[in-house]
């Protein structure tokens, strides 16, 4: 850990102004950033603490949607009655992540911004294009059991570890950003994360200094919702594969579908291919298998993670069957 200076922001405008100096970073719950600083992976020279900004509210929107403040704690969002009844997939995803203590501390914005758990990203002696652009990727040809099968390239095969963001992706969330010039913009979560390409160190479309102020959930899509997380132990563990899905079935036919995967790519992976393969088709296992195959058609295993392709297919099939049975 390097020496750094610290200030607590009093309002959002001051926060983005304060973070505009070089080497400055926002800190909220710190559940990921502090670990990374101790390990010398993140090396900010100045921290702007935004955890006490008045961005903790969860508000109803007139169109039936919900606005979640960026500083709302994961546990508060998971427990919110509106989230639980209208967006159960989000509550389930949040509750499947981390531990009770971490969820109490972790913020909504921080959860979106958390970094990969690739072991080579965590090892400063290993080659990592995220930490040092151009250094190479030790995970390729290394131990890559938890790594990406979709959207990865020769520069990086890391996955995004969030559960929350997978549910938000299935729900079509929009992220509100405040820029250093005080301008506000809205980005679909599907466009918020970047695939690695040649620049895996650039993980989102955030501009330098830009701050997440809230996440807007549109009115819930029709159908039942479910988050299914597959992992090596029953709790306190990242997903090998997860599926967030919303499915509407009427007269044994799929009317509407949303499918997003976690643990398979550098971003939460919305599969429009799977959705297209479901809508208008009979709600049967044969349909789900077609959808799963469509979703994973371009998947590439890297050795240790080859199993994730079949696992993702099977997990999607079961999740859809579950939702259809409950319809």
């Amino acid at each position: 850990m390097r020496a750094f200076t610290y200030e607590r922001a009093t309002d959002a405008r001051a926060a983005v102004a304060a973070v505009s100096e070089p080497g400055a970073k926002f800190i909220s719950g710190g559940t990921n950033l502090l670990d990374l600083m101790k390990l010398d992976i993140e090396q900010p020279s100045h921290l702007v603490d935004i955890s006490r900004l008045p961005l903790r509210n969860i508000e109803d929107l007139r169109d039936g949607g919900l606005r979640i403040g960026a500083q709302a704690a994961n546990s508060d969002v998971a427990a919110d009655a509106r989230v639980r009844t209208r967006y159960p997939v989000l509550s389930q995803a949040l509750l499947s992540g981390a531990s009770g203590q971490l969820r109490n501390k972790a913020s909504t914005g921080g959860n979106l911004m958390q970094r990969t758990r690739c072991p080579y990203f965590y090892d400063t002696a290993a080659a990592c294009n995220k930490r040092r652009p151009g250094a190479g990727c030790a995970a390729i040809g290394g131990f890559n059991r938890i790594h990406a099968i979709l959207g990865a390239g020769d520069s990086c095969i890391a996955t995004h570890p969030s559960d929350m963001a997978v549910a938000m992706t299935a729900l079509g969330a929009r992220i509100t950003l405040l820029d250093t010039d005080q301008s506000v913009r809205h980005v679909d979560i599907a466009d918020f994360y970047r695939l690695p390409g040649d620049t895996p160190h650039r993980e989102t479309v955030l501009r330098p200094g830009e701050m997440i102020t809230d996440v807007v959930l549109p009115p819930p899509p029709p159908g039942r919702q479910l988050y299914r997380k597959v992992r090596d132990r029953a709790s306190y563990e990242f997903a090998l594969v997860s599926v967030a899905s919303v499915l509407s079935v009427k007269q044994d036919t799929v009317r509407a579908a949303r499918v997003a995967f976690g643990g398979v790519a550098a971003k939460p992976w919305r599969s429009v291919e799977a959705e297209a393969a479901l809508i208008g088709r009979p709600a049967t296992m044969a349909t789900y298998r077609d959808a799963a195959r469509a979703a994973l058609r371009n998947a590439i295993g890297r050795g240790h993670n080859d199993f994730k392709i079949e696992l993702a297919e099977r997990t999607l099939c079961r999740t859809l069957a579950h939702l259809a049975a409950a319809s």
Binding site: A3, G141, F143, R233, F307, T315
Partner: protein, 757 residues
């Protein structure tokens, strides 16, 4: 059974041995008043050391530049092989490795990834850690041997294996026996690198005081720490004071000291200030020994009714080339089941990785994963109940040594466990029972663990106020030593437990073999028992002709020590009055145990502990996620000293067994020799949600060949066989046999049918 083994000299007893007495040190621990190694010396403005590790697996340092680190804020010393003091050499003629010198920073050669190349000492931990990042190191890397799977046939034969046990054994004619068997199993099992991960990291605060050095250390054996520091620093052992009253877990990884202690001690003497060094969690994966990875071939040949004709267990493991460690993985196979034709062997594959060290139940834990899986495969091949198969192969004498068992109740454990668990509800056909999404299966496995006795001395002192103090350099590593020795002394002197004080973990106290190998409780409690016996004898000798005593002239052999009084028939006297009159300054005696090699029982009998595990698992029919549903262990351990701490130890071992079956795996990146799994986010151990209803039951027992108390060690037995029971349950649930531990889901997934409607 209180009182067994006592002759004459009066009888004592509060019936307190075996009772579920709460930990006497519990309130100190939960209120933060138990001071651990790293927490000492705050008043002396200690300095903080941070270890810089090598980032190559094999080769040499070509340059190490400490100038920037030395200029960093707060830095007082940067120690490298250029300025480290000369140290004693690693002396392999010292019979037990943990007593040997452990020299650090001795030269530019790098033997494994993470090996210390520098220690940065600064006024604050954060300063030391920041400056450690400024030490510039250049290496000349040489190709290393890191890949066990690729190199496992490139082996050599160790002279002996761990604990001095023979490398190979053979009885009868295995090949002929195996060929003649009606049903055979011949399978290869592999087990991964595993790590001890105690809650308290390996830590030391070294405090120089003139020519003396006080070493606050997290260690399982005080005497070994003392000898090792003295030999390394070339100091008179009398000038070293080791202090280890509280230790936050060890599991074998603190039997010896490591870089943290040697580097703290060296630095403290260089800067003449207290220096603290603790390993980070990531460093523990590199600087503390690990359980070697293994490849185990098990061959079983049986006749149609399940009686074993031939049994072979051939083991290959990794070792560090410079520091041989041969886990005794096939050793308990020699005593487990009857079979006329038998073979066991151990081979080592040298790899440029951290050395192997004792990890909870060395040998038995990985060995039983293989052997007890193979027994389950044999039961399946015979279409026989796995409990019944084990009962049919119960030996009458130790099948390799030919000596009788001291106290063997494996069959009772199996029967009692089967009854309590409801084994009769086991699905007889694999993959035949489903509960919603879960495929459900039952598994069983036997547990066996050797019992060791080591030389130990304790001192018991009675003060004139009638309170007793027990002293030993024995440790309590979270196991309950303070509590059981309180109970044994209270029993031996007829005192309430609140009038006994136990003081442990200081090198000034009489020498023990500490905690390890499951020997600590039996050694130290037997020694306390004997010291109390000697003390009673001295008190009665004093009182016999003392006309001031109500007990004068009464038949002393009928004396009973109880409730703080000495009673002979109707007459009695307070123990405190008796001591005050005859020993106004108090009276003390010592008690000892012998090394097992000097105790005829250990050559005349085969002395072990036993158990039987029963596990029920659910395997997700679509994703192959394996979740334990319930588990029971039934154990035979001789006499239990404290029902509560015993149960905790056994359950803790069982949980580790579940982790070994399903989760734990150290993965080496074979390109660099570094562990890719280097923290507890990547090296998984069970969390609460993984461990539902787990219970341990201990059969009433007393092993009169083990010691006067009839007690045997229990610290390791719980893990023995536990993982095999889980793996066998996975087979029963799915019909998929995985022989490569741990059973992560991708190994089961290919054997499952596709998702159905």
């Amino acid at each position: 059974m209180t009182g067994q083994g006592m002759t004459g000299q009066g009888h004592a007893g509060q019936g307190v041995i075996g009772r579920a007495v709460h930990r006497v040190d519990g309130p100190l621990k939960v209120t933060g008043r138990a001071t651990y190694a790293y927490e000492h010396g705050a008043e002396d403005r200690p300095l903080y050391g941070y270890i810089v590790g090598a980032t190559i697996g094999r080769g040499r340092l070509t340059r190490i530049d400490t100038a920037n680190a030395e200029r960093a804020p707060g830095v007082r010393l940067v120690m490298t092989h250029h300025n480290a003091p000369e140290q004693g050499p690693r002396d392999t003629s010292v019979p037990i490795e943990y007593w040997r010198a452990q020299p650090m920073l001795t030269g530019p050669e790098i033997h494994h990834y993470g090996e210390p190349v520098a220690l940065v000492v600064a006024a604050a931990f954060e300063q030391a850690r920041a400056a450690a990042g400024l030490v510039e190191v250049a290496y000349e890397e040489r190709p290393g041997r890191y890949d066990f799977a690729a190199l496992r046939d490139d082996t050599y034969v160790p002279k002996v294996v761990n604990a001095g046990l023979p490398t190979d054994t053979a009885v009868g004619d295995f090949d002929a026996g195996f060929r003649s068997a009606a049903v055979t199993v011949d399978r290869l099992y592999t087990t991964p690198y595993e790590f001890s991960m105690p809650m308290e990291p390996h830590a030391c605060t070294a405090v120089p005081q003139g020519a003396d050095l006080t070493v606050h250390v997290s260690a399982q054996i005080v005497d070994a720490a003392l000898a090792s520091v003295a030999a390394t620093l070339r100091l008179d052992p009398a000038r070293i004071h080791v202090v280890a009253p509280y230790v936050g877990g060890g599991f074998g990884s603190k039997l010896g000291i490591h870089a943290e202690t040697i580097l703290a001690a060296l630095a403290a003497r260089m800067v003449r200030r207290p220096v603290k060094v603790a390993l980070t969690r990531q460093q523990i994966f590199q600087l503390v020994g690990l359980r070697p990875t293994s490849s185990q071939r098990v061959r079983l040949g049986a006749d149609r009714d399940g009686r074993l004709v031939a049994l072979a267990h051939d083991v290959t493991m990794h070792t560090n080339p410079d520091m041989e460690y041969a886990e005794q993985t096939a050793a308990t196979t020699r005593s487990l089941y009857a079979a006329p034709h038998r073979l066991t062997s151990h081979r080592l594959t040298p790899l440029d990785l951290p050395r192997g060290e004792d990890v909870r139940s060395p040998g038995d834990a990985p060995g039983l994963l293989a052997v007890e899986s193979a027994m389950d495969e044999l039961a399946d091949a015979l279409d026989m109940d796995p409990v019944e198969l084990r009962i049919r192969n119960e030996p009458t004498v130790d099948p390799e040594r030919g000596v009788p068992y001291s106290d063997r109740h494996l069959v009772e454990c199996l029967r009692e466990g089967a009854r309590r668990f409801g084994w009769e509800r086991r699905p007889t056909r694999p993959a035949s029972v489903r509960d919603g999404q879960w495929l459900v299966g039952y598994g069983t496995a036997a547990a066996i663990r050797g019992h060791f006795q080591m030389p130990t001395t304790v001192r018991v002192r009675l003060a004139a106020d009638g309170t007793a103090t027990v002293q030993s350099d024995m440790t309590d590593i979270g196991t309950g030593t303070y509590t059981i020795l309180t109970q044994v002394a209270a029993d031996g002197l007829g005192l309430p437990t609140d009038r006994v004080r136990v003081e442990l973990g200081r090198s000034e106290f009489p020498t023990s073999m500490g905690s390890g190998g499951s020997w600590g409780a039996a050694n130290s409690s037997t020694a306390v028992h004997r010291a109390c016996h000697a003390l009673r004898k001295r008190l009665l000798a004093a009182v016999r002709e003392d006309t001031r005593s109500a007990l004068c002239g009464l038949p002393w052999e009928k004396a009973v020590f109880a409730d703080g009084r000495v009673r002979i028939g109707e007459a009695s006297e307070a123990l405190s009055d008796l001591v005050a009159r005859h020993f106004p300054d108090g009276v003390q005696t010592t008690g000892e145990t012998l090394a097992m090699t000097d105790d005829p029982h250990y050559s005349a009998y085969s002395i072990h502990t036993y158990g039987a595990h029963f596990a029920e698992v659910g395997v997700d029919a679509d994703t192959a996620e394996i979740r334990l549903r319930r588990m029971l262990g039934v154990f035979s351990v001789g006499r239990v000293l404290n029902a509560k701490t015993a149960r905790s130890q056994l359950i803790g071992g069982m949980i580790w067994g579940v982790g070994a079956a399903l989760q734990e795996e150290g993965v080496v990146d074979v390109r660099t020799g570094a562990f890719a799994t280097r923290d507890l986010a990547h090296y998984l151990v069970p969390v609460h949600a993984d461990i539902p209803a787990v219970d341990a039951v201990v059969l009433d027992g007393y092993d009169d060949k083990a010691n006067a108390l009839g007690a045997k060690g229990i610290g390791e037995l719980g893990i023995c066989g536990a993982g095999a029971a889980v793996a066998n349950a996975v087979f029963n649930a799915t019909g998929v046999r995985v022989r490569d531990f741990p059973l992560t889901l991708e190994k089961v997934l290919p054997g499952l049918p596709p998702p159905e409607e």
